[in-house]
Amino acid sequence: MSMHNIETDNDLTQDTVILQNRTRELTYAEAIREALQQQMRQNKKVFLLGEDIGIYGGAFGVTEGLVQEFGKERVRDTPISELGITGVAVGAALTGMRPVVDIQFSDFLTLALDQIVNQAAKIRYMYGGKGKVPLVIRTPSGSGTGAAAQHSQSLEAWLTHIPGLKVVQPGTPYDAKGLLKAAIEDENPVIFYEHKLLYKTKANVPGTDYVIPLGKADIKKEGKDLTIVATAIMVKRALKAAEELEKEAIHVEIVDPRTLVPLDEKCILQSVEKTGRLLVVHEAVKRGGYGAEIASIVAEKGFSNLKAPIKRLAGQDVPIPNNKKLEKAAVPQIKDIIREARKIVHE
């Protein structure tokens, strides 16, 4: 389906290609933008729609510059109609396009869920395997900006509960780029959660057109004493915590599932087989969070390897408050991870 080699590609000298493909530091936001750009160059069916994604560049600047390159038809500013635009994307996908919807804050998915859950996720099944909905919804989640309860949630667990959807949650610029490309190339609806506090974090990202397959976890750090499964911003915090813990000779292994659906169970179970201990860390509220799913899988399938009870460290069961101190206290911080890790290992 994808149409490789757009015109401008032909003009590139060998040198420019090498230059373009080289690895350099990009922010998470830039990495996402690069994925969008590469996909849009390769495949005319890919287009973007969302509120303020054009000249404004998106609420977090991710789509900056894209309307200049691809025009208003393919970088489509929309009215404030989350249900409507998501439905439009469903219809466009069902008729052959590859829309990428931008929902400004993942809290607003609450308005679009009929189209995501009752339509996009189920159409193929309801139609007995006919039709497909290759649709990506990009949306920022998480707290830390002081935007309070209606702009700070982490509700990714909801979407994992819906057969027919895939759920992606990148924790680094490298992963963000590779996973977004996989998401856009996927034939199914994919919810792509970006983390607000990660947008400005930098790391090496190749300019090449690499893809990270959905469903492959990544071991961000090896260790033998304790497995920490962490997602999104918690990957970064877990890595920092692990540094500290190394000083105490606690060797933590950090597994980033990267995609919640499909989930790389095997990688997690193998790690727990090695370490015998599991701490699951996420920002989302603990009760009903996806950490429970991961913990339960291990409690069932990795039970015999467990040397200690499985622990979950997650958001408090409260809405996110505005006050900075409270906001921080609402979700796991580095020191909390260190504390919990110590407890598990020493108990």
Binding site: P79, G87, G128
Partner: protein, 321 residues
């Protein structure tokens, strides 16, 4: 004007309306006999809207429908055998028995599917029209929904989107006076639902949805406008639902007299009379057509009954593409 259409076409239209009527009567009998699992929403009385609108579409055009969607599917040329099999939950049905009465679809042939969420199909239609726009085809998309659906937020958002992007959508509101038990006159405070078009700066019109030729005539104009890039339109087709909302409806919200009165404006009888008056076809041919349709519908049931259930392994397939 009846003279605008060939005899063949007129007979075809008549036959399609009859197919819907007899198909629904057959479904009703099957419900009573308990032949299938799940609910169903019959569209008897509303045949002219479905047939009138869909008959002016071309290959490549698309349509979305509702929970009350059998008529729309038949009007789009669906195979009654595969429809009935689907309603019966059989492996030979349009959706291999996974969708049932409320999800008949045939995406490759423009039927983007019935929808069990009131208003759920409306934004999807706009997306389909956006594809046409982006791909530069001249295909239009028809969007069927009920009077009740016009109070859903999805209606509002979708019509606005179609309007600002001038997309080729024909929004067809089948106003059958009720949403389940609720009279639309109590659920809105306006005379005609087509007034709502004004909120989006698009044309709106209220027509007699039981007059096949009027429906065709208006839709034809709407479709050619849309194909020309002149944007969407809202057509309110006034009609009436003869049966209860679904199989469990006790119909306490309306009187038998009301129903009988409305049945006097039956779209099929009206069209039949007109045909007979114009001698197309002759009265004896009418009987022949009826017989043919009856047989077709019976064959559909036979096919459905004889068809196998899906294998239990089918449960786990088709979740992901």
């Amino acid at each position: 004007m009846i003279s605008n259409y060939s005899k063949e076409r007129l007979v075809g239209l008549y036959q399609t309306m009859l197919s819907i009527r007899y198909f629904e009567e057959e479904v009703e009998r099957s419900v009573k006999k308990g032949l299938f699992h799940g609910t169903t929403h019959l569209c008897m009385g509303q045949e002219a809207a479905a047939v009138g609108v869909c008959s002016v579409l071309k290959q490549g055009d698309k349509m979305t429908s509702t929970h009350r969607g059998h008529g729309h599917s038949i009007a789009m040329g669906a195979d009654m055998k595969k429809m009935m099999a689907e309603i019966f939950g059989k492996a030979t049905g349009y959706c291999k028995g996974k969708g049932g009465s409320m999800h008949i679809a045939d995406v490759d042939y423009g039927n983007l599917g019935s929808n069990a969420i009131v208003g759920g199909g409306i934004p999807i239609t706009v997306g389909s029209a956006l594809t046409a726009h982006l791909e530069g085809t001249k295909d239009v998309t028809v969007c069927f929904f009920g009077d009740g659906a016009t109070n859903e937020g999805s209606f509002h958002e979708a019509l606005n989107l179609a309007s600002i992007w001038k997309l080729p959508v024909i929004f067809v509101c089948e106003n059958n006076e009720y949403g389940m038990s609720s009279s639309i006159t109590e659920m809105t405070n306006i005379e005609d639902l087509s007034i709502r078009a004004k909120s989006y700066g698009i044309p709106g019109m209220t027509i007699d949805g039981n007059d096949l030729l009027e429906v065709m005539n208006i839709t034809e104009r709407a479709v050619s406008r849309a194909r020309n890039g002149e944007g969407p339109i809202l057509i309110e087709a006034k009609t009436y639902r003869y049966n209860g909302h679904s199989k469990s409806d006790k119909q306490r919200y309306r009187t038998d007299e009301e129903v009988s009165k409305r049945k006097k404006k039956d779209p099929i009888q009206r069209f039949e009379k007109m045909l007979i008056q114009s001698d197309i076809p002759e009265e004896k041919d009418i009987e022949q057509i009826k017989q043919m349709v009856i047989e077709e519908v019976e064959a559909a049931t036979d096919f459905a009954l004889a068809s196998p259930e899906p294998k239990v392994e089918e449960l786990l397939t088709d979740v992901y593409a």
